[in-house]
């Protein structure tokens, strides 16, 4: 992921969340949070082939069962 600019940060917040981030705050975020997010580009270097995210179907079923129980 490329490092974010302040303008990109402001635009993402505005368009996706209808939320205004001030220019000075966005500038600071570009240097701190932006740098961290840029590092997410290195995740694949950890060797993620064949690994699925651990969002288990069993949890989905249990959540639904609990919801159904509450609805009775």
């Amino acid at each position: 992921m490329a490092q974010m600019t302040a303008e990109t940060i402001r635009r993402l917040a505005r368009e996706n969340f209808d939320y205004e981030i001030g220019p000075e705050v966005a500038e600071a975020m570009a240097g701190s949070i932006g740098a961290l997010l840029a590092m997410t580009g290195q995740f694949l270097a950890l060797g993620l082939d064949g690994i699925e995210p651990a969002f288990g179907y069993s949890n989905l079923v249990r959540e639904a069962e609990a919801l159904a129980g509450r609805a009775k």
Binding site: A13, M29, F43, L44, L46
Partner: protein, 469 residues
């Protein structure tokens, strides 16, 4: 018996004296309420003190014990909860302005279990706002202070939970840990903090920070108390869809077994960048283990280098999902630091989130490989001692050139990513008289071995000098 003596008892000792009617729950509760009154104006460990409810619960416990109906080791024991756990009819703020008047209509499972065990609730403990930070410098409910130096942070986010333990304004407390929020305050305040395996303790009724990394666990004066408390709160809960059905053992059973023959892995990636004081104390702890008959050698978990990024991406996203409506409608009601972190969540892509979740499996696989030939892993809990309140002076003892918060989080966040049990235990005091700590990390659901190793070390090391408060 003098009040001060009662306050000095750990849970195990107090429990025995309650069971045998040498002290009464009513007088113990009064002693703790007086201690809160004497310390909390300075300490700010409590947001809400439930004095009348505590007295009522203590009277009930006394009547039951006198009648021969002792419920177990927490019957009549005064405890307190991080103000992130729902308590029916009792204000639950999350340390925020947004929930300043929120009174839940049900109890968190953790509190329901403690209450069923006969515990007496003293009140709700201060924390970093919504558990999103490591200082517990709360702009809405006061800055929690470190009992060893009131000018320093207690760590966070469960800062009130650790501070109350150390000044004896609660016998045992509950904290939560998503990036280190049980272990960091336990480390900086000089007490024991146990983050159990993910899913071991129910998250039902706990205000979330991250759905997939929130852990709830005890903060206590010693290892035995942590083992006793985890035994009460652990176990399957149908109200939490991620809750484990793994059987809960008696965590106190192996506490006296020692560490002879135990194989300890020292995590290479968490052995550098330490302050001189932390390094010296940690190495002394390793020598202590050797003198007790354990063996120690180095292990490597290469993906730990990315742990704070993985932890951060998951928390940014999960936290914003929970807070998004309030962020639109009431952004000014958040403290500035928490608002900035929530804004950061607006920048995380779905791709990065899913990859972070996948990377957690890689990290756990490497940790399990290390544990195939070792019983536990060890590392310092923090690279630095408690920094001064206000942040800036943290740099005076900064161990690395990284973000100073990373000097704390990089040691704890990995085991929120992997969900392994990890216990923080004091290793001594620095030259400035501030607590230092290491963590002992186990295999998933093997809290018993973690407790066993910690108990052996604690017994050999002896007690820390108490703070002057």
């Amino acid at each position: 018996m003098a009040s001060a003596d009662m306050l000095d008892f750990d849970v195990a000792t107090l429990s025995e004296k309650l069971r045998t009617k040498q002290v009464s729950p009513v007088e113990v509760t009064e002693a703790y309420l007086a201690r809160i009154a004497a310390t909390d104006e300075k300490l700010r460990a409590y947001i809400t003190v439930t004095a009348e409810k505590a007295r009522s619960a203590a009277r009930k416990a006394e009547a039951e014990i006198v009648a021969g109906n002792w419920r177990g080791p927490f019957h009549g024991v005064p405890v307190a909860l991080k103000d992130l756990l729902y308590t029916r009819g009792i204000r639950t703020t999350g340390g925020s302005k947004i929930l300043a008047d929120f009174h839940p209509d049900y109890d968190a499972t953790v509190w329901a279990r403690l209450e069923a065990a006969g515990a007496v609730l003293l009140g709700k403990l201060n924390l970093h706002e919504f558990a999103y930070g490591v200082t517990s410098s709360n702009p809405h409910w006061g800055f929690v202070r470190n009992p060893y130096s009131l000018e320093r942070i207690p760590g966070g986010s469960s800062g009130g939970s650790a501070a109350a333990i150390v000044v004896h304004s609660a016998a045992a407390t509950i904290g939560s840990d998503t990036g280190g929020s049980i272990r960091i305050p336990a480390a900086l305040c000089g007490c024991v903090g146990m983050k159990p395996t993910y899913s071991r303790v129910s998250r039902h009724g706990v205000i979330p920070l991250s759905y997939t990394m929130d852990h709830v666990g005890p903060i206590t004066r010693n290892v035995r108390d942590a083992a006793l408390m985890l035994g009460v709160i652990a176990g399957y809960d149908p109200k939490d869809s991620t809750s484990s059905r793994e059987a809960v053992p008696d965590y106190t059973a192996g506490l006296e077994n020692g560490v002879k023959g135990i194989r300890i892995g020292v995590i290479r990636e968490l052995s550098d960048g330490l302050s001189e004081q932390v390094s010296r104390s940690f190495n002394a702890a390793l020598k202590q283990f050797a003198s007790l008959g354990a063996s120690a050698d180095e292990v490597s978990i290469p993906s730990l280098a990315m742990a704070t990024v993985i932890n951060g991406v998951v928390i940014y996203t999960d936290a914003l999902e929970y807070h998004e409506r309030w962020m639109r409608e009431r952004p000014a009601d958040y403290g500035e630091d928490v608002r900035r972190l929530l804004e950061a969540g607006m920048l995380v892509s779905g791709v990065a989130y899913v990859r972070a979740q996948r990377a957690r499996a890689r990290m756990l696989a490497e940790a399990l490989a290390a544990l195939a030939s070792h019983d536990v892993l060890v590392a310092p809990t923090s690279a630095v001692e408690a920094p001064p309140i206000g942040g800036g002076p943290l740099f005076e003892q900064q161990a690395s050139e990284a973000d100073p918060v990373s000097d704390i989080l990089r040691f704890t966040a990995p085991f929120d990513c992997t969900g392994q049990p990890a216990l923080a235990i004091p290793t001594g005091l620095s030259d400035r008289g501030l607590p230092l700590s290491m963590q002992i990390i186990g295999r998933p659901f093997d809290e018993s071995t973690v407790f066993r190793v910690a108990a052996a070390y604690e017994k050999a090391r002896g007690s820390l000098p108490s703070p002057k408060m």
